[in-house]
């Protein structure tokens, strides 16, 4: 599975709206859309660190780095070479 797919799947499994109500593009801000709650911010940080085996820098722990699939990909790419 590509990194993009893994991230999408992870977000999908944590939506606070039911699947058929939620559609999002890779550029969409999932927090602003209300698709995930703020508890998810910590989970997403853990997910990124464990799934991609990297440590997110303190200064990068800001919600905007995690708010869309695209932004998460960009964040991980700062740390690692990944197959999108």
């Amino acid at each position: 599975m590509s990194a993009r797919q893994k991230i999408r799947e992870y977000i999908n499994s944590n939506l606070v709206v039911l699947d058929d109500e939620a559609e999002f593009e890779d550029a969409d801000n999932i927090f602003q859309k209300g698709y995930v709650n703020s508890l998810f911010a910590m989970k997403l940080l853990n997910f990124v660190e464990s799934e991609f085996q990297c440590k997110v820098d303190d200064s990068d722990i800001v919600i905007s780095n995690f708010s869309s699939v695209d932004n998460i990909i960009n964040l991980v790419k700062k740390k690692k070479d990944i197959e999108e």
Partner: protein
């Protein structure tokens, strides 16, 4: 993680400490509305206040399961004493350990570990509770300082603490600050007339243009809710999950003692079938709640993805059964259960608090139900 032999030794010591210095005096602490400072000092010397911290900053290196079991033992003795672990060690200490920068860790964690500084967590306000993201306490930048103004309410250990984590907003941005008690224009007032937690220095905090330097911001500016509050409340929920088990178990022990000693109709109470029902239910609830707390602890140790949800379920369930078991414990004691000569009267009042703090039961239900609607959806 502490190795097994040392952990067993530690737990024996903790039980002795609780049985000799905490449990017999829980009623007295409540009457005097204070956990004695000498007891807090002793807990610090025994390193309990730093139980989950690494050894290099003075901790015992307990893993999450072990720390839960320690919280459980202390909680069985006195909820107000356990509350110090919840706020000082879990909500503030563990959050700093996870989210603070190196300078903040170096400065604060050794002081917290030794109990030289006591910490409290200031989120709730007179008009803002469950909807915590809407805090009204404001901050603004003035030169290289932030100026914070607002009021915090129900802050556990607030009247004793030397340092507070204060959550405040600037327009849409919510940030977390370390605010020392000795900053000018900060005042705490104890809250009287409480149902329970009377010995836990619960206070209101008034911040009237309190100036703190930039280095006191925890995490990144504007990220206080997503990362600091959520991290802290996750640790807090784990602590309260164990607190619920401990209270229920303490109430169950009182039930058993009373049922074996009190006689009516020429028989001990434990001979009556309806008493069996209460005891059987209490045993089942205590053991199931303990299992889910252990499961949450294991998941937390493994940094498992489900850990946050299991912790939420554990907090919801164990606070609910603590109330139920404490209610039955009073029932089993009859009139004596309504009098402070018996510990169940206090346990009954204390239990209610757990359904309210660290996210009320209704909010846990909201979170758990959404999780269930997805997880148990057969496709």
């Amino acid at each position: 993680m502490m190795d097994r032999d040392n952990f067993e030794k530690l737990m024996t010591e903790v039980k002795d400490f609780v049985n000799n210095k905490v449990r017999p005096f829980a009623g007295k602490f409540e009457e005097e509305e204070a956990v004695p400072l000498s007891l807090i000092k002793e807990m610090a010397e025994r390193k309990y206040l730093a139980a989950p911290f690494p050894a290099e900053i003075g901790g015992l290196e307990l893993d999450q399961v072990q720390y839960g079991l320690l919280t459980h033992e202390i909680g069985k003795g006195c909820p107000s004493v356990r509350a110090l672990l919840t706020v000082h060690t879990s909500l503030v200490g563990q959050t700093l350990l996870r989210m603070a920068n190196q300078e903040q860790k170096d400065k604060w964690l050794p002081l917290l570990a030794k109990g030289e500084k006591i910490a409290a967590f200031g989120l709730t306000e007179p008009d803002v509770g469950t909807d915590a993201k809407s805090v009204q306490t404001r901050y603004e930048k003035q030169g290289d300082h932030f100026v914070i103004t607002g009021r915090k309410k129900w802050i556990t250990y607030g009247h004793l603490a030397d340092v507070f984590v204060i959550i405040a907003r600037n327009e849409e941005n919510v940030s977390a600050f370390l605010v020392e008690r000795d900053r000018e224009n900060l005042r705490t007032t104890p809250i009287k007339g409480l149902l329970a937690s009377r010995a836990a220095y619960i206070a209101e905090i008034e911040l009237n243009a309190v100036r703190v330097p930039e280095e006191n911001v925890i995490g990144n500016l504007g990220q206080g809710f997503s990362y600091i509050v959520n991290t802290a409340l996750d640790y807090g929920r784990y602590s309260i999950a164990w607190a619920g088990v401990s209270l229920a178990e303490a109430a169950l022990e009182e039930m058993v003692k009373y049922a074996r000693n009190r006689s009516q109709f020429g028989q001990k109470l434990y001979k009556f079938q309806l008493i069996h029902e209460m005891i059987a239910n209490a045993v089942t609830k205590v053991q199931t709640a303990k299992s889910i707390c252990l499961q949450a602890g294991e998941q937390r140790n493994n940094n498992a993805d489900e850990a946050i949800m299991t912790t939420t379920i554990a907090k919801y369930y164990s606070s609910k059964i603590a109330m139920e078991v404490a209610t039955d414990a009073v029932q089993l004691h009859g009139g004596n259960g309504c009098c402070n000569q018996y510990p169940v009267e206090r346990l009954f009042r204390e239990a209610k608090i757990f359904e309210i703090i660290e996210g009320t039961s209704q909010i846990q239900q909201e979170i758990i139900s959404m999780y269930g609607l997805k997880k148990y959806n057969r496709k």
